[in-house]
């Protein structure tokens, strides 16, 4: 360990926190503006130019509110849940290579790291729902578990497929393998698996479900469960869940970019860098927002049907296909 390493790590940690914070704040703005554009409204305009200061105003508002613990709730868990929900995104982003050198911790098990800590997310939301002592919240918590468990399986299968194709769990190496023109990206690696674009779509769908975004926002389902697991949260408790939602979207989109879209590689084989990574990631983030403002919410059993009857069989077959192709053809 060199003398610089701890400082570098600290710097990155601060950087990631700032990145997550800023992104969460401004993705809210993008989401509101985007939703407004899809619905042909102006969106926020009053605070700052084009409403650019709106997230700050919202943040101040949330900060100035009291975190109310409902009577009968489990106060410790109720307060701990918002903290817990931030951990996975923070740790996950620490292993994400934004560019060849711009990575907080370049580890050999980066891929596993994102998944391992991602599982804390489920537990955090479940605890928040449980500890609120609210019927809507408990229904929501039960939904979240079934949903996340159901979608973790196809997602893991897809990732295992990618693991077979890349042969490494080091995210930086995965990106480096995709250097060159854009048909070298994993999503177009049809020589490894002819169904690669489909695999990407499955991954994207699972990511939407894992981050509880529309059309899979069963847990929040405001027309049924008011605000689901977050019903009882006020002030910054709610704010943290809000930030975590966007942090998880960022992480999911960054992960998809690395696995499928060549990370920081440029589509033309030259001038690769952090710019391309962010561009690809934000295009995916925009797609997430776009999907949300287009579709109605799925019903619970449809969601599980989709996972168990469609996504899992397809992702299993792509896994087997990849194994066969790689064993037979190589």
């Amino acid at each position: 360990m060199s003398i610089i390493e701890p400082f570098r790590l600290l710097l990155f940690l601060v950087g990631i926190m700032a990145f997550v914070g800023l992104n969460a704040a401004y993705l809210v703005w993008v989401e509101r503006k985007g939703a407004a554009r899809f619905q042909r409204r102006p969106g926020p305009t009053e605070v700052g130019y084009g409403g650019l200061l709106q997230p700050i105003a919202d943040g101040i508002k949330l900060l100035s509110k009291q975190l109310h613990v409902p009577p009968g709730a489990d106060g410790v868990l109720f307060r701990a849940a918002p903290l817990l929900v931030m951990i996975p995104a923070m740790i996950g982003l620490a292993v994400v290579p934004f560019s060849e050198s711009l990575v907080a911790r370049d580890t050999n098990v980066g891929l596993l790291m994102i998944f391992a800590f991602g599982s804390i997310n489920v537990m955090a939301i479940m605890l928040s729902g449980w500890s609120s002592r609210n019927k809507y919240a408990i229904i929501s918590a039960a939904r979240i578990v079934s949903q996340d468990v159901a979608y973790e399986i196809p997602m893991l299968l897809v990732v295992v497929t990618m693991l077979m194709a890349t042969g490494t769990m080091n995210l930086n190496e995965i990106v480096q393998q995709q250097a060159g023109w854009f048909w070298r990206w994993n999503i177009f690696r049809l020589d490894v698996n002819p169904l690669m674009p489909l695999t990407f779509i499955i991954f994207f769908v699972c990511m939407l479900a894992e981050t509880n975004r529309a059309p899979f926002d069963m847990a929040e389902a405001e027309s049924e469960l008011v605000a689901g697991a977050f019903t009882e949260y006020a002030g910054m408790g709610f704010g943290v869940f809000f930030i975590a939602e966007y942090a998880n979207i960022i992480l999911g989109c960054a992960f998809a970019t690395i696995l499928f879209l060549g990370g920081w590689q440029s589509p033309f084989g030259v001038w690769s860098g952090v710019f391309w990574f962010l561009l690809k990631m934000y295009v995916l983030v925009f797609t997430v927002i776009w999907v949300r403002w287009t579709f109605p919410r799925t019903q619970f059993y449809n969601l599980l049907n989709l996972s168990w009857k469609l996504l899992i069989p397809i992702s299993l077959s792509t896994l087997i296909l990849t194994a066969v192709v790689m064993k037979v053809l190589k």
Binding site: I3, D74, S119, I120, M123, M126, I138
Partner: protein
């Protein structure tokens, strides 16, 4: 100077923190009266153990510990609590008689003391020359070569467990 000044101090402290987390989590898991907090204790304990694994040069297993224990075991248990725990997480104190508490405490202390003695005094073979590099490749190779039979057996056990769980859980259900 290619070493950070207090590197030893930091690493040592982190290790001790891991040990403390493990111990605290385990104690929380068995002492608290609220069952959900007990699960949280288990989760904390697992985080600590994951840290210990990391210090044992096995980051892969550290992450698997978190993935399996927190992501699967703890979540499943909380889910089970939601389905089956009737009186909102409290374990009533009445059932735990003082006698049982003392018996449990004695048993725990005895086991702890005995095992520690055994562990500390045991004639262990000499440590290997080279330390494992924590590579996942070696694990994978041995899983699929030396221990492939056990691997298959475990997968069979998991499969049967899932089927069994489904059958048992569905048995009392009226609605499909």
């Amino acid at each position: 100077m290619d070493h950070f000044p207090a590197q030893d101090l930091i690493v040592g402290t982190v290790f001790l923190l891991c040990v403390a987390t493990t111990v605290a989590g385990a104690l929380l898991a068995v002492i608290t009266t609220r069952i959900v907090r007990a699960v949280c204790g288990l989760a904390i304990c697992c985080v600590g153990i994951a840290g210990l694994y990391y210090f044992l040069h096995s980051p892969f297993l550290a992450l698997m510990e978190i993935l399996v224990y927190i992501g699967a075991v703890c979540v499943t248990i909380i889910f089970g609590i939601m389905l089956a725990e009737p009186d909102l997480t409290y374990e009533s104190k009445r059932d735990t008689t003082v006698l049982w508490g003392i018996v449990a405490l004695l048993a725990g202390a005895a086991i702890c003391w005995g095992l520690s003695r055994l562990g500390l005094q045991g004639p262990w073979p000499a440590p290997p020359a080279q330390v494992s590099d924590g590579s996942t490749k070696a694990i994978g190779v041995s899983l699929l070569s030396t221990y492939s039979m056990a691997f298959e057996a475990i997968s069979l056990v998991l499969f049967v467990a899932i089927l069994g769980a489904l059958v048992i859980a569905r048995a009392g259900r009226t609605k499909a």
